[in-house]
């Protein structure tokens, strides 16, 4: 019996998906490392606490974890906090949904029409190659300081993965399956809805997962550049007010938000693409 190699390592297989958060939850074999992981966290926090409290690193750059935790109640009980939170949440979700719709529509159109694909795929790919964050000030000038500009920025950043994966996914259908549909007298619509679309769904969902991260990035960048409400706006404001403990608290909050949204999407993925045997 060969000793297990890294090739059997599910953590690698999960991360090899190369999508943000593409990892699987660890299997039984890796669970024995949890004490070590926990120990790393404890040591890390303890070192941080010491470095900050002893003055080795300035309090402004690295406040102690206990100070951060102590200020968290202040953060969440602020009377506008709920508004900031829901604003960012709607910006991310709205940008993600609309961006995905744009990506799906564009991907489907280009998948079904070779002419459109040959004409527009290079253009879309070129657009993707530009650093679209540079458009943030322009988007704000066009759409204002409200949530609309954040949603537009999120759309601009997140439609491409969905578009590309839709395009690729729809071309994955096997020739034999297509022939079978044709021999059964299926219309183009039936073939699309009952064969090509389900075949494409795993790939499309992989694109959706990537798009979620980009939607979040777009919303936050846009809030940095100009906003009245939102967690990113709050982070920027607290940063320039030098209330760094609140900045760190917001960073953790945003990471948790990202994780929560991703897990939601993953759950949706497993529910809708129920026939999948491998992730």
């Amino acid at each position: 019996m060969a000793r297990p190699t890294e090739l059997d390592d599910p953590t690698l297989a999960g991360l090899a998906g190369e999508t943000p958060g593409g990892g699987d939850l660890p299997t039984r074999r890796e669970r024995r490392y949890w004490p070590a992981s926990l120990a790393v966290l404890v040591v890390f926090l303890a070192t941080w606490q010491y470095a900050s409290r002893s003055g080795m690193v300035h309090r402004i750059i690295l406040p102690a974890p206990t100070d951060i935790a102590a200020d968290v109640p202040f953060l969440v009980t602020d009377r506008d906090f709920l508004r900031h939170f829901t604003t960012t949440l709607w910006e991310i979700v709205g940008g993600f949904v609309f961006g995905s719709l744009v990506g799906l529509a564009l991907g489907t159109a280009l998948a079904l029409s070779p002419l459109l694909r040959r004409a527009y795929l290079p253009l879309v790919t070129t657009f993707q190659a530009t650093p679209r964050v540079i458009l943030a000030p322009v988007v704000i000038a066009w759409f204002g300081f409200g949530a609309e500009s954040k949603i537009v920025q999120a759309i601009i950043l997140c439609f491409f993965p969905v578009f590309l994966n839709t395009l690729v996914g729809l071309s994955l259908t096997e020739e034999n399956a297509l022939k079978l549909m044709r021999s059964l007298g299926a219309t183009r619509w039936q073939t699309f809805v009952k064969l090509r679309l389900p075949d494409a769904l795993p790939t499309i969902f992989a694109g959706l997962k990537v798009a979620l991260t980009f939607a979040m990035i777009g919303a936050i960048i846009s809030e940095f550049v100009g906003a009245e409400y939102g967690l990113g706006y709050l982070l920027s404001r607290y940063n320039f007010e030098l209330r760094i403990t609140l900045v760190y608290a917001l960073i953790v909050l945003l990471a948790l938000l990202g994780l929560a949204l991703y897990l939601l999407l993953d759950w949706l993925d497993r529910k809708l693409v129920f026939w999948r045997t491998t992730p």
Binding site: L7, L115, R118, A119, T130, F224, L235, I244
Partner: protein, 271 residues
């Protein structure tokens, strides 16, 4: 006979599709772009849209030419290029080293795995304001932001490339009693190079993005193309603003093309 009366609109033979069928997509693509630009120019001239919010392409082109000749602009271009390059170099080094460690030392990988996932969930641009507070308004904070954003994909790709090698090849080498170093240089490294270059392409784009985001966050406090876009916007000099956006876009595309060319030349065996 029927075929003599039949009109032949395109000089096509049965074997070879007509010119339009072969090249039609090029015309469609170019036509769409030119059409949109023309529409924009017209809308601005007819005052259908506000000429400040939507500066016509003609004015943007003029502003672009003017900008390229100015020292002022070159200073900002150099600032962004400097930040991007250093951010990419440090980020690539960090990503390669961390990726290699995670690949070659499985216990470390298994221990740190939850934190890698957690770090993945964090949109790393939120660290930009923190870096500005820690390192000031100068290039250091921007380089730090660029590094933070661009090292991660490369680290993942390096780790995957160095570990997920062909099972049979690995078994063969172990059967031939190859040392870990030999396995590394002769199997893992060649296997990893395509992944590393793919990660590098992503990293280059992220490094530019990181630099620009950091410049947008610091606003007028520093030099850089992002700062220019922000400042011109606030001063309502939108022709100059759009000109800089066009320049940044062209640079981004050029960099991606260069990375792809490099990838094709160096990882030649994948073709």
């Amino acid at each position: 006979m029927k075929h003599a009366e039949r009109a032949a609109p395109l000089p096509a033979s049965a074997a070879r599709p007509g010119h339009l069928a072969r090249r039609g997509h090029v015309y469609l693509a170019i036509g769409t772009v030119l059409g949109l630009l023309a529409l924009w120019e017209l809308a601005s001239a007819l005052r259908l849209v506000h000429p400040v919010l939507f500066p016509p392409p003609s004015k943007v082109a003029v502003a672009l030419v003017r900008l390229l000749g100015q020292d002022y602009f070159m200073r900002h271009l150099r600032a962004t290029a400097y930040v991007t390059t250093l951010g990419l170099i440090f980020g690539a080094l960090l990503g390669l080293v961390l990726g290699a460690v995670l690949a070659l030392v499985p216990p470390i990988r298994h221990t740190l795995y939850p934190y890698v996932i957690a770090f993945q969930a964090l949109p790393k641009i939120v660290l930009a304001p923190l870096f500005v507070t820690a390192f000031g308004f100068g290039p250091e904070s921007k380089i730090a932001t660029a590094v933070a954003i661009c090292f991660f994909p490369l680290m993942l790709n390096t780790m995957v490339g160095l570990s997920l090698v062909d099972a049979e090849a690995l078994k063969l080498m172990r059967a031939l009693r190859a040392s870990e170093w030999q396995i590394f240089t002769k199997l893992r490294l060649p296997n990893a190079l395509p992944h590393i270059f793919a990660g590098l392409q992503t990293s280059i784009t992220f490094a530019i993005t990181g630099a620009l985001v950091a410049e947008l966050v610091t606003g007028g406090g520093s030099d850089g193309l992002g700062r220019l876009v922000d400042t011109y916007g606030q001063q309502l000099e939108t022709e100059l603003q759009f000109a800089v956006v066009v320049i940044v876009s062209l640079i981004g595309v050029a960099v991606v093309l260069a990375a792809e060319w490099l990838d094709r030349r160096i990882v030649f065996w994948r073709r």
